[in-house]
Amino acid sequence: MASYLTGIITPHRKHTKKSPTIRMDVPKTVTIPMEMHIGKPAIPTVKVGDLVKVGTKIGEADGKISSNIYSSVSGKVVKFVEYLLFNGFVTTAAVIESDGEMTMEEGLTPPTVNTKEDLIEAIKASGVVGLGGAGFPTQVKFDVDPEKVDYLIINGAECEPYVTSDTVTMLTRGDDMAYALQTINRAMGISKAIIGVESNNKKAVRAMQILADAVIWPDVNVKVLPPVYPQGGEKVLVYHTTGRKIHANQLPIDVGCIVVNCTTLAAIGAYLKTGIPLVEKCVTVDGGAVKKPRNVMVPIGTSLEDLFNACGGLTVEPAKIIYGGPMMGITVPNTSASVLKNTNAALALTAKEAKLPKTTACIRCGSCVNTCPFGLAPISIAEAYDRKDVDALKALHVTTCMECGCCSFVCPANRPLVQKNKLSKQLLKDIKEGENK
């Protein structure tokens, strides 16, 4: 295989690595949006006043690319509100007042999975979406010709600073992961699985090696990855685990791979074992403003405020509140936002942590070009965007950008490089949609 793709050494700041995971007290209310995934929002199946239990379906997937939503607490649906998503769109959210009992829905039984169709149906019923952050409905990934799949690749690369929730999964939920692997193997006949873990995450590497030894069918291999950000990017991971290149306009399946995050796999495993759908999430709570940084098992829909309070509260006014890690995470304006299915971390950064240097003139040092894992020229893209040069943007392959942010991170002039890449991609998308109309 060719050499590893370039990247950056980020500060790790994985303070939560060693502290035990806690389970927070049942929140008084949860606000569960109908859109916690890529695709169409789910259609609410309950109405105000309905009594729900943990695992009661409150939203039905609308079409193929969508996902079911389940109540994470037992209690009463008190209202539906308009919920501002971080992408600026507004969706409906069910507000459920908890009775504090956490009574389970009756009749939740493990599904019988023997065929691909069973598997897809089961994943759909589990409400699992890409839990690494993307939120893509997972069942869609498996709706492919099994003959085409050579590898199931498990993403255990947790390359973002601060975040350790996937590590918690690998250390504590190996049995769920193994169960899912075996079931997928039985249903789809995928005979090879590769788990990618970074070399500096030694405990997780060891845990995954134990899992690999225990699971005989499929054949599981652990691929130790360099401790360089970004290892978790889909194209990067597939290349580093299999040596296969995903070209422009291709998906992992085009090179015979299905990529699933380790926590997503564990969530599928948990559902297959118990029949309990995705209702809670392990979230890394960290950042300088958080009193006691730790990993927390939290019901989906819990507000960030309740979550931070479960970690001793905020000691200072945070400068930024981020869903996910600081390299690719998304900021939210206040702590009333809910923990979503794909929330893997909630960071409250202090002004000092979130401080970015002033933007100055580009000195053409080439750091962005030499750092980009995909060999893009971010500064040229930024300049082409500024003059709205669509042809140049296409020639510069801007759509390849995975928005990892390495270019902006290393830029000594702190130019908004990945930011301009995102704008460029949107510009090309808008133009394409305009042409199709």
Partner: protein
């Protein structure tokens, strides 16, 4: 909590590298050569350094004020780097008013009117040195070390007999303030490499090319080739001038081509041209070729090729 916090696009952290930090590292890396130059050529060298530094920084500040720039760029220390580099490329006995004119040329003509930092086509210090070489007779005669009998004379490249290798390494011979002491320049270059301000390609390929071609063109003698490589500003050019970010290519292969071209031109000008020194002209020429080298050596994008 009711107050709103800032929302922004990721990334939310930064490496901490800054332009001024990089420039500060270059200034630090030039310290050994400055000290060596002062020891070799006397305190008047410091005067030249001071005049160039003050003039370059002053002209940049002045230009920003006159041009009503939104941001004063003096604090990024790039003008200071240009000033120090220019001074180290001048003989210690140069009239100080000429230093001021050179600084004006470097900062105003070469850098500021092309758009300031990052927008200049050629290296300001190199361009100013070449300008002064053409404009002022004082540049052709190099200052001699304070302990030597002669006051001024030709640079070793124009002289009939080369100094010994040890002399060339320690720098106790005639030339510009900062170009003679190979040891000090190596020390500074090493610092830049360790701090990852520069990569090895340009200096190593440049110096190796000069050595190899000198060996081939000057009678297949290792000592002669080494002497020629250690004199005439090859080291200061290779480590500090040719590696200027703005006027050299970003990619590894681009840097290799740039270094090779500069080495080749240096030797051609030196051995077949009318000027005894070729480094400045070679780098200047490669600066002009730089946009083409960048185009030739564009990196292949990871997702290029394949279906669709």
């Amino acid at each position: 909590m009711s107050s709103l916090t800032k929302v922004a696009i990721s990334p939310h952290i930064h490496s901490g590298r800054s332009t001024s930090g990089i420039m500060l590292d270059v200034l630090i890396a030039l310290l050994p050569a400055t000290i060596a130059g002062t020891v070799i050529f006397g305190l008047k060298s410091l005067l030249v350094v001071a005049v160039c530094l003050i003039c370059c920084v002053g002209f940049e500040a002045l230009f920003n004020i006159i041009a009503k720039s939104k941001r004063q760029t003096v604090t990024d220390l790039s003008a200071a780097v240009t000033g120090l580099l220019l001074a180290l490329n001048l003989p210690a006995n140069i009239p100080l008013w000429q230093c001021a004119v050179g600084s004006l040329f470097a900062i105003i003509i070469v850098k500021c009117i092309f758009g300031g930092i990052g927008k200049n086509l050629v290296n300001p210090a190199i361009a100013a040195r070449v300008f002064m070489l053409v404009a002022f007779g004082s540049m052709a005669t190099a200052a001699f070390p304070v302990n030597a009998d002669a006051v001024s004379g030709a640079t070793p490249l124009a002289a009939e007999k080369m100094p010994s290798l040890l002399t060339l390494f320690l720098g106790n011979y005639g030339g510009a303030i900062g170009e003679t002491c190979t040891a000090a320049l190596l020390l500074g270059g090493l610092y830049l490499l360790i701090r990852r301000i520069i990569t090895w390609q340009i200096p190593v390929v440049f110096i190796a090319t000069v050595f190899a071609l000198s060996f081939l063109m000057k009678g297949f003698d290792v000592t002669t080739a080494l002497s020629l490589t250690m004199s005439g500003g090859v080291f200061i050019g290779a480590f500090f001038m040719a590696t200027d970010y703005t006027t050299s290519p970003p990619t590894a292969w681009g840097k290799v081509i740039f270094g090779f071209g500069a080495g080749l031109l240096t030797c051609l000008i030196r051995y077949y041209g009318t000027y005894p020194e070729g480094v400045s002209f070679a780098i200047l020429f490669m600066n002009i070729l730089n946009p083409y080298i960048i185009r030739w050596t564009r990196k292949k994008v990871f997702t290029e090729g394949g279906s669709k």
